[in-house]
Subunit: 336 residues, 2 copies
């Protein structure tokens, strides 16, 4: 982000018709956006985009989720017909949705399957999630999608997730990169019961034993313990920073990919704001690790990008405050 | 709020294509809106309205604020020309703004001064804020404005405040009704310095001695320690409940009026949601007293209704989720 625009935005806030600092975090957000854009006041978003990276996970067969894997493909169809939470939240926030099938176990329409690398990622508790070729293809796909979006005019990016079982590899990635124990990262996901929770801890434990050996190599870590959807998300988040485009982060799955992306492209997190805090335990570790303070804390744990989209109007407001409020001089208002 | 619609909304949430409860607080908000409207799914808002009650306060002359009283009238003009934070926040959230001059010390346009009861409210540390006739007129004005708005189609109401010095009477009202001490309710307001803070505590202390004697009579309390703007806001909030219209509360000044409104119309708080948490100490007491959990906690302390407006898109999203998301059956998605 641009230091000159940042300083201009800080100074501009002092001139607007409100007590200094009285918009709190919204003022900081506006300053951050100005720095990301290198422009003060920041331009309002003209194309905020959500990209949902979808993929199945072999571990779903181990009973780590409340839902069957078939739901991933069904929900992808639901995204395309506009019936999911991400569609409604995008509409409210003025964003549009793109779905990218990276590893859904079912067939999906051609328009979203161009980057697909396989049908379901591997059983990470006993084998690698992906081959070396697949992980490289998945990361490259995420980067390519970010490039396509920025080249197409996207000025704010959100990554979303869809994949039954995906909080299990997400927990493993977070544990591997924050040196946490399995019980500290395991959560209920979509609402697994007590027996499922115990199966999930065991899978995370076994997968983590494999993951820790490669924790210092982000590509190897994604190959070993992630999946094509998570690898693509990490590539997407890293490339968004390369393309100097601000990102609003979603919950634990995107957060896990973000922790890896920060390893792929150190400093990328300067281009990110955390949209919300998920009740998933691993998400707290993500936020602490990346030193991000979430905008919302509403107990949301749906994924799809919904938490980031719920926060997007705050970012819109932050930008428009800097662009549209009158100054003390313009409005003829006395200062303190 | 309507119990049948509430139960229908709870049940409908279970049928939508998301894990049960995964939208957290947003689900509760949607249920509350359905109950307020007596309709499931709730109708999207067609006319969300902010009414900013403006008024000056005699205590501003005691040096309790960082700004001179002249700013109240200047900011009212700024609201009318669209340059203030409330205008930008309303535009982002799809709401419109009305300004009502209750006691601005300056002349204001006829369109907003029909309900004006005086120029500046009294020095509450040594005299009553209003006469009995004035307090009754101010409360009636607030009720009349709520009626006008609901009759005009408003389906979501927000009260905002503008008045240099108004966090001082707000703190007194909160202290009187929650049995708190002056130092527990005094805050920096628009950003008063240390000397001003000490003057403010002394004014609150003296005003509170007068206010405690009438704390069990809400009208007498408003007459003694509030001001025409706060009295009108209390009447407005009470009448919104009478008219079964949901309200999104702003920060400490509106919150103080809300505490009094709950005395005027016990149970009114069922029609309210707290938009945000202000860093003003008295606001924490308001939220606790009314048993409300705020949607946002972003360090906002501007007033004008800006905190409620920042939260409004969450309420819009909550309503639209219930109305627009596909059910498991409709989308052909397998359940857990």
């Amino acid at each position: 982000p641009d230091e000159t625009a940042r300083r201009q935005a800080v100074a501009r806030h002092q001139t607007l018709t409100k007590p200094a600092g009285s918009l709190g975090r919204l003022e900081e957000l506006g300053v951050w956006l100005a720095a990301c854009q290198g422009a003060c006041p920041p331009r309002p978003f003209t194309r905020a985009r959500v990209v949902v990276f979808a993929g199945d996970h072999g571990v779903a067969a181990q009973g780590v989720s409340a839902y069957p894997s078939a739901v991933t493909g069904q929900m992808v169809t639901n995204f395309l017909t506009g019936g999911a939470a991400v569609n409604v939240a995008a509409s409210v926030a003025g964003a549009t949705v793109r779905v990218v099938d990276m590893a859904v176990a079912a067939d999906t329409p051609e328009q979203i399957s161009a980057h697909k690398v396989r049908r379901g990622s591997g059983l990470i508790d006993r084998a690698d999630a992906l081959t070396q070729q697949e992980v490289e293809a998945a990361i490259a796909a995420g980067r390519a999608v970010a490039d396509e979006e920025v080249d197409g005019g996207a000025d704010l990016l959100i990554a979303g997730d869809m994949g039954i079982g995906n909080t299990t590899p997400a927990a493993v990635l977070v544990a591997a990169l924050t040196s946490a124990e399995p019980v500290a990262v395991v959560g209920r996901g979509t609402g697994v019961d007590d027996n499922g929770w115990m199966r999930k801890v065991a899978v995370i434990r076994d997968a983590l034993r494999r993951a820790r050996k490669v924790a210092n190599d982000p590509v190897a870590l994604l190959r070993t313990a992630a999946g094509a959807d998570l690898a693509a998300t990490a590539g997407f988040l890293a490339q968004a920073a390369v393309r100097r485009t601000p990102v609003l982060l979603d919950g634990v799955v995107v957060g896990a990919a973000a922790v890896v992306a920060e390893e792929l492209a150190p400093g990328a997190r300067q281009w990110w704001v955390a949209g919300h805090r998920s009740p998933e335990p691993a998400h707290a570790l993500v936020l602490e690790h990346l030193d991000l303070t979430p905008l919302l804390d509403l107990g949301m744990r749906l994924g799809e990008g919904s938490g980031a989209l719920a926060a997007l109007p705050l970012l819109v407001l932050a930008a428009r405050v800097l662009g549209e409020m009158a100054t003390f001089d313009e409005a003829g208002v006395s200062g303190p």
